[in-house]
């Protein structure tokens, strides 16, 4: 069964460094999402992406964050200058042409630790 994959599974970085989290959505999906989950807290929406542009973003998704679909398969989340509070599990998700009205399939996550 097709699945969303994410790399790396774990990332440790120093405060102020840039990190890029990578995702390969399910191949025929057109809608892509990033969510995060701070340890012990709810899963929070960050951003949705469709047709090569951001369709919606949350208050968390400030100027330090950006997303890109550099080619036909990858979907990346960049944090330009990481803060301690960016430490969290980051999940990528995708859904098919019917968009968010349908199931969002999540990847296994990247655990980011900012020191």
């Amino acid at each position: 069964e097709p699945e969303v994959t994410q790399t790396p599974s774990h990332q440790v970085t120093q405060m102020g460094q840039e990190v890029i989290l990578r995702c390969v959505p399910i191949s025929n999906h057109l809608y892509f999402y990033w969510y995060r989950q701070i340890l012990g807290q709810k899963v929070e929406f960050l951003v949705s992406f469709y047709n090569n542009e951001i369709s919606e973003k949350s208050e968390i998704f400030d100027d330090q964050f950006s997303v890109e679909r550099p080619d036909g398969s990858n979907f990346t989340l960049k944090i330009r200058s990481t803060k301690l509070e960016d430490s969290a599990m980051y999940f990528c998700a995708s859904s098919d042409w019917r968009g968010a009205a349908q199931t969002q399939y999540f990847g296994p996550g990247t655990r980011l630790l900012v020191l």
Partner: protein, 113 residues
């Protein structure tokens, strides 16, 4: 206000028993989805129920939706130790932010052999 609040926060049962988890939400929704998360792992989609549906089954899972009460329940029948995980409901709103899922805080289920 919080969308997608589950109760109980934690549930501990014996193998073979049924587990019922509830979710309440505040805004009008297009659909409601249930996900499972094993400790420190990814989110696994379990079932989606649309706003015009009242009940849905998938294997040992039964989901109900009451839009008048803005609530949903997830029933796992004949539970197994492997069902031990956190369970989250997530809603897709009808208005404002229709792309995103809003997750609840989850119910931690422990099934003891």
């Amino acid at each position: 206000s919080q969308q997608g609040e589950e109760d109980p926060q934690a549930l501990s049962i014996q193998e073979g028993e049924n587990a019922t988890m509830n979710c309440s939400y505040k805004t009008s929704i297009n659909n409601l989805q249930w996900y499972r998360q094993n400790s420190g792992r990814g989110l696994v989609h379990l079932i989606l129920i649309r706003s015009n549906e009242r009940e849905k089954h998938s294997g040992r899972l039964r989901v109900t939706l009451d839009t008048s009460k803005k609530s949903s329940s997830l029933l796992i029948t004949a539970s197994r130790a492997a069902d031990t995980a956190s369970y989250f409901c997530a809603t897709r709103s009808l208005s404002g932010g229709y792309n995103k899922l809003i997750f609840g805080a989850g119910t931690r289920l422990a099934v003891h052999p």
